[in-house]
Symmetry: D3
Subunit: 266 residues, 6 copies
Amino acid sequence: MEKTKILWINPINVDAYDQPMGEFIDTIRLPGTEVEVISFRGSIPLNNLEYRTFEAMTVADTVHAARYADEQGFDAAVIGCFYDPALEDAREISGKTVVIAPCQASVQLASNLANNFSVIIGQEKWRAQMSERIHAYGYGSRLASMRSIDIPVPDLQKDCEYTAEKIIDAGRLAIQEDKAESLILGCTCTFGLFETVQKELNVPVIDPIVAAFKSAEFMGSLKKQFQWYPSRKWTSAAPPEELIQSFGLFKNPPSIGNRYLLKEAL
Amino acid sequence: MEKTKILWINPINVDAYDQPMGEFIDTIRLPGTEVEVISFRGSIPLNNLEYRTFEAMTVADTVHAARYADEQGFDAAVIGCFYDPALEDAREISGKTVVIAPCQASVQLASNLANNFSVIIGQEKWRAQMSERIHAYGYGSRLASMRSIDIPVPDLQKDCEYTAEKIIDAGRLAIQEDKAESLILGCTCTFGLFETVQKELNVPVIDPIVAAFKSAEFMGSLKKQFQWYPSRKWTSAAPPEELIQSFGLFKNPPSIGNRYLLKEAL
Amino acid sequence: MEKTKILWINPINVDAYDQPMGEFIDTIRLPGTEVEVISFRGSIPLNNLEYRTFEAMTVADTVHAARYADEQGFDAAVIGCFYDPALEDAREISGKTVVIAPCQASVQLASNLANNFSVIIGQEKWRAQMSERIHAYGYGSRLASMRSIDIPVPDLQKDCEYTAEKIIDAGRLAIQEDKAESLILGCTCTFGLFETVQKELNVPVIDPIVAAFKSAEFMGSLKKQFQWYPSRKWTSAAPPEELIQSFGLFKNPPSIGNRYLLKEAL
Amino acid sequence: MEKTKILWINPINVDAYDQPMGEFIDTIRLPGTEVEVISFRGSIPLNNLEYRTFEAMTVADTVHAARYADEQGFDAAVIGCFYDPALEDAREISGKTVVIAPCQASVQLASNLANNFSVIIGQEKWRAQMSERIHAYGYGSRLASMRSIDIPVPDLQKDCEYTAEKIIDAGRLAIQEDKAESLILGCTCTFGLFETVQKELNVPVIDPIVAAFKSAEFMGSLKKQFQWYPSRKWTSAAPPEELIQSFGLFKNPPSIGNRYLLKEAL
Amino acid sequence: MEKTKILWINPINVDAYDQPMGEFIDTIRLPGTEVEVISFRGSIPLNNLEYRTFEAMTVADTVHAARYADEQGFDAAVIGCFYDPALEDAREISGKTVVIAPCQASVQLASNLANNFSVIIGQEKWRAQMSERIHAYGYGSRLASMRSIDIPVPDLQKDCEYTAEKIIDAGRLAIQEDKAESLILGCTCTFGLFETVQKELNVPVIDPIVAAFKSAEFMGSLKKQFQWYPSRKWTSAAPPEELIQSFGLFKNPPSIGNRYLLKEAL
Amino acid sequence: MEKTKILWINPINVDAYDQPMGEFIDTIRLPGTEVEVISFRGSIPLNNLEYRTFEAMTVADTVHAARYADEQGFDAAVIGCFYDPALEDAREISGKTVVIAPCQASVQLASNLANNFSVIIGQEKWRAQMSERIHAYGYGSRLASMRSIDIPVPDLQKDCEYTAEKIIDAGRLAIQEDKAESLILGCTCTFGLFETVQKELNVPVIDPIVAAFKSAEFMGSLKKQFQWYPSRKWTSAAPPEELIQSFGLFKNPPSIGNRYLLKEAL
C-alpha cells in the first residue's frame, strides 16, 4: 500500500510551532506516513488564534491550504487549532482530501474511553466558542465542564512545568467537583504534557494534536483502502470548477510561509 | 437626538449590488438615518457567497469592516448576506457598534408575527448552513421547512418575474404542505419581491434586507438612547488593543472597494 | 407617515403603575408615537402577578384588551409583565395589531449584544415559569443563570436604592460566578434602575419595559411600512367572527379601569 | 379506606357535556369513587375551547374551581379539555388536591404501551398548542405525527359514525405512513369512540377522558394512601393566604353553572 | 371484575428481598390484587445490580420472566430495580402483560405533584445510567439534581436509621441548594423510608417500589377494563412465534428461584 | 511496536458468520494485526439479534467476552452487531481493552465525510432502537433518514445481488428524497456490498464491519502508544474485584462456541 500523506496546517503566520510540532509528530506517526507541516505567510505576524478576530484573518488561507492539499494528493489535512477554525469551509473545497480538526477528533476519541469529559481551557474567553463546537458535534451532553487555567496562548509553552501544574490542578477539580471521567486539553499548544497529567490523575487525557494527527492518519488510510472520500453531494458540494476559474480563486499560490517535512520512515 | 449611522456591508468584491441596495434602503430608512453601503476591493471578482469557500475569502474583510464601523462611529453595521457570514467574528471586534445580520434579524421578526416560518432558499446547497444558523439562534422548532427554488444567486435578479413566480410556488407549497404560517426569503438578492409574494400568499413575508436594515436602525437608536453597547465581558471580549497594535492587525486601510452614501434626509 | 399608536397594558386591577410607567415611557418614546397606558377594572384589587393564580384572573381581560387594540387601530400592544402572561392568546385575537411582551423582547435584544445573559428575579418562585418562557422562545442555551434578590413585587419600588443595591449584588454574582455577559431585569416594576446597574457593572443591562416598549414601537412601525401584520394562517388563525358574535364574546366593553394618554409629540 | 372524590371540570359555559360525560364516567369509575361533574356559569354561552381566545375566557374560572376542589376535599380534579388549559395555574392553587389533565395523562399512559404515538386532532389549528404541550411534558420524541380529521369541535358528536370513520382513516394513515404504534384521540369530545377504533386498527387507542379520569382516580387514591399531596415548595408554592384574603380573590362562590353527581357505588 | 394479577420481579439471584418486599407490598395493594414476587435461580449469588456487569447477568432471566408473565396471565409485571434494567426487552416479549419499571413510574408520578424533582442515589456510580434513563423518558428538564448518600446497595438496609438520616441530609441539600420541589428515592432497597423523609422535609417523596407497584396495579386494571394491551406494531413487535419455537427460546422453565405469593384479599 | 490484538465478537450462538467475516476482515486488517473471531456456545441456536428478546439472551455472554478480552490482553474488542448490544455493559468490565461497536463507529466516521447520513435498515422493526442509539451518540441531527429494504436478517446474505439491488434502491431514495449525503449500511450481515453501492451512488457508503474493525484497530493502537485505556472513574468504574470473586461472576470459562484466528501477517 502507498504511503499515507498528511498535511498539518498551523493556521498562523509565524513558523515558531512548525518544527517543534513536526518533531513531536515524528514521534507518533506510523512508519510510512509522510507529513508536511506548514504555517502561513500572512503579512501580519499573527502567532495565536485566541480571538475570533485573529481567526478570521486566517480563514481564507486555511481554505486555500485545503485546496492545495487536494491538488498535492494529500490523503488528509489537519487544521491545527482546537477552535477547529474554518473546518466546514475547508471540508467543502478539499476535494478527495479528508479534513480533520482537533476538537472534533478529541471528543470522538474520548467518547470511546469514558462516559464524559472535561475540557481544560487557557482562558474564560475560549468557553463559548469551544462549547458551541462541542454541542454542534453532538457531544454536549458528555461535556462535564470546562475549566480555565488562566494562561493566554503565547504563555502556555513559556514554563511547561507551571502549565502542567495548572492543568493538573484544573483537571483534579474537574474530576472531583464536576465528576469528569476523562480530560481533553483544549489547546494544541500544550502538546507533550498529556502523559504527565495522565499519570498524575489516572484518567485518559486526550492531547488534541495526537487526537487530530492520528485521526487524520486513520481517515487518510481508510480513504485509500475503501475510497471513502468526502461526500460532494447536496450541502457537501464544492463550488463548480468553472466558477472557481472565472473568479481566479486559486490563481495565486497558497499562503505557505514555512514548510517542515517528515518524509523518510521512522 | 443625533442621527443614527448605519454601515451596510455587501461582503463581496464587486459593486454591482451597492447602488440598487442603497436605493432600496433609501426607500425604507427613517428620516435622519445615515447609511453607507460598501463592498470590498478584494483581488478576485467574487460576486456571491453561495459556497463556504467563497465566504471564507471575505471573512477577514468583514472583520476589518466591523473595526472600521467602530472607528467611524457607526451605531450599527449589517453583514448583507443571509448566511450571516463572520457574524460572531465581527461582533467581537466591533467596539461600540452593534452588528446585525439578516438571518438572525429575520427569524426574530418573524417570531413576533407567526408561530412558525419557512425559508425559501435558492438551492439545496444552502440548506445545511442556514438550518444550522437558525438552530443556533434558537429558532429550530419554529422552522416549518426550507423550500428550494433551484436558482443560483447570480441568476436571482436576472428575471425578477420568473424568480417571484418560483418563490410564490415554493411559498405556496410551504404553506399548504409544511403548514408554514409565514415566509422568510433566504437571500439578500431577492429584495423588492417580498411585497408581491405577500400580497399573493396572504401571510407575512420577511425580506431579509428589510429585516436586517430596520433591525440595525433600531438597535443603533437603542444604543444611542440607552447606552446599550455590545458586551465586552468574558466570551464577548475583544482582543487586547496592545496585541492588535503589535500584530499591526488593522494598520492597512479596510478593504473597501466602493461606497454608496445616503446622507440627506428623505 | 402616520403616527405609531401603542397600547400598553398593565395587566392588573389597580392604576398605581399607570402614571409612573406612562411618564417613564414618555421619556423614551419616539416623537410622534402615541401611547395609551391602561389597567383593568377587575372587581378585586389585584396589584401584582407574582403567582400564576393572580395571572389567571387577568387572562380574559388581556385577551379583550388585545381585541380592543385591534378595533382601535393600535399598531402594537404590550402586555406589561415579564411573565408575558396570555401572550399567545392575545396574539390570536389581536387582528392587525402586533402583540409584544417584555420577556421575549428582552431576550431578543440581549442576544444582539452578548453571547449570554442572566435574569435577575425577585423571588425563587419566578424561576420555573420564566425559565420555561425563555426556553420556549429558543434562548435557553444563552441563559447563564437566574439570580433572585428575594424581594416580592409590591416591595420592589418601596426603597429603590435598596432594590438597586440588591440587583447590583445579584448581577455581580451572575457575572463573576455564572459568567454572565449581560443582564436582564426580570420584572417590569424595576423600571428606571437599569442605567444605574449598567454603569456600575459595565455590561448591557436590559430593562424589560424599555425592551418591550421600543420593540412594540419598532414592530408597529414595520407593520405600517411593510404591511407586516400578524399571520392568521393555521395555528395563528383567529376564531371565526361568526362564532365570536354568536357567543357575544366581546359584546361588553373591554375591562379598562384607567387610562393614561401620551398624545402630543415630545 | 375512604372513598376517592373526583371533581371533573368541563371548562366551558354550557352544560351540554355534563350529563353524557358523567354517564360515561359512571361506566368506568371504580366502585366507591365519587364524582362531581361541573361546568361554568360564565355570562357567554361558550361551548368549546378550540381557540386560545375562548380558552382565555375560562382560565379564571378553572383556577377558582381548583380552589373549590381543595376546599371541598376532592382528592383530585380534572380539567376536561385536551389542551390542558390552565393546568399549571390550577395546580398552584389546588392545595392538597392533585390536578390532572387529559393530554399529560394520555401521553404518560401511552408511553407504557408503545414506543410512540400519533395524536388525532380535529383541525390543523390545534397542532401548535398541543404539540407544545407534548414537548413540554417531555414526550416530543415519541410523537410520531398529528393527523387532522378536519372536523370542528361542535360537530364531533353530531354524527358519531362519520367521526369514527374519519378517525379510523386518519389513524390508519398515522400507522402506515408515520409508523405510529399507538393512537391518542386529541379531543375530549370523542369519548366513546376509542373502542371501535381500537378494534379496527389493532393498536392501543387512548381516550383522553378515560386517561384523565382514571389517572385522577389513581393519583387521588395515592394521595390518600401515601400523603402524596402536591408540592408547595419553590415554584410550586401557592400565593400566601393573607394576600388571597386581602385581594378577596375567592370571596365570591366559584363559577359553577351546573353539577352532575355520581355518589352511590356502582 | 376479575382480580388484577401482578408479577413482581426482583432481578437478582438471592431471595433475601422477596419476603420483606412482599410484606411491604401487602400493605399497599388494593383488595383483590394478587401478587407473585419472584427472584431468579441464577448460578451465582448476585444480590444487587449496582454495576452494569451485574445487570447484564440478569437480562435474559428478566426477559424470560416477562414471557412467563404473559403465559400465566399476569396483567402487569414490574422489574424491581431503579435502573429499569431490560425494560424495553421485557416489553417486547410480554404479550398482553404491561411491563412497568420503578424509574419511569416514579418520574411520571412526581411530574403530577411538583415542577421538578431530585433523585437520591446510593453512589456516584449510579449517576450516568439513571440520568440517561430520565432523559430518555423525557424528564431531563425536570431533574433538579442527583445527590449521592455514598452507601452501596447491600448496606442500604443494614442500618435503616443511618440510611434515613443520610437521605434526609441529601434531600435537604437537594431542596435548599438545587431548588428541588420533590424527591425520588433512587433505589428499590430503601422501601419503607419515604414516609419518614416526607414528614421531615415536607415535600412529596416518591418511593420507587410504591410508584412501580401501584402503577402496575393501575395499568393492569386499565388493561382489563379497556383492552389497553401493549402495542405490537412496528418497533413494538415481538419476534415471530415460529422463530421463538425454532430457537427453542423458552423451552426451559423460566429462571425462578423463589416465589412469594399474596393471594387472599386484605 | 507489538502487534495489535483484536477480539471480534459475533454475539450469536451459531458459527455461520465467523469464517466469512474472518476472511473479510483478513482483507482489510493492517499487517501485524492479530484477530480472533468468536461466537457463543449458548444452548439455543440463535442466529440473529433482530429482536430485543434475542439480544437479551446474549448480553451476559458479551459481558463475559469483554472480561475475557481483558484477561487475554486484547487491545480492543468489537461487538459485531449494528444494534451495539450491551456496549455500555461490556465497556464497564473490559479493563484495559477498548470496546467498539459498529453503529457508534459508523456515525463517527461518516461525520468526517459528509454533513449527514441515512441508515439503510433491514426492517421497520429496527428503526426505534437504532434511532435511539444514534441520538444517544449525539448524531441525531445528522440522521437524514432511515430507509428499510424489508429483508429480515437471515435472508440478507441469501441472494446478495438482490440485497445489493434493494440497498441501492433505498439508498437512491435516501439521497434524492431525504437529501442524504452519505449512507451507512445498518447491518453487519451486509458486508462486502458497500463498494458496489458506493460505486453506483457516488457518495461514501459506510460498511459497519469495516468501520468497527478499523476503529478497533485504531483505538487499540492508540491504547498501546499513548496508554489511552478506558476510564475507570465515576460512572465508568468497574465492579470491585472482591465482589466479582465473591459472586464467582467469571468462575466459568467464557461462552465461546467457535474461534477463527488470523495470526500471521498478510
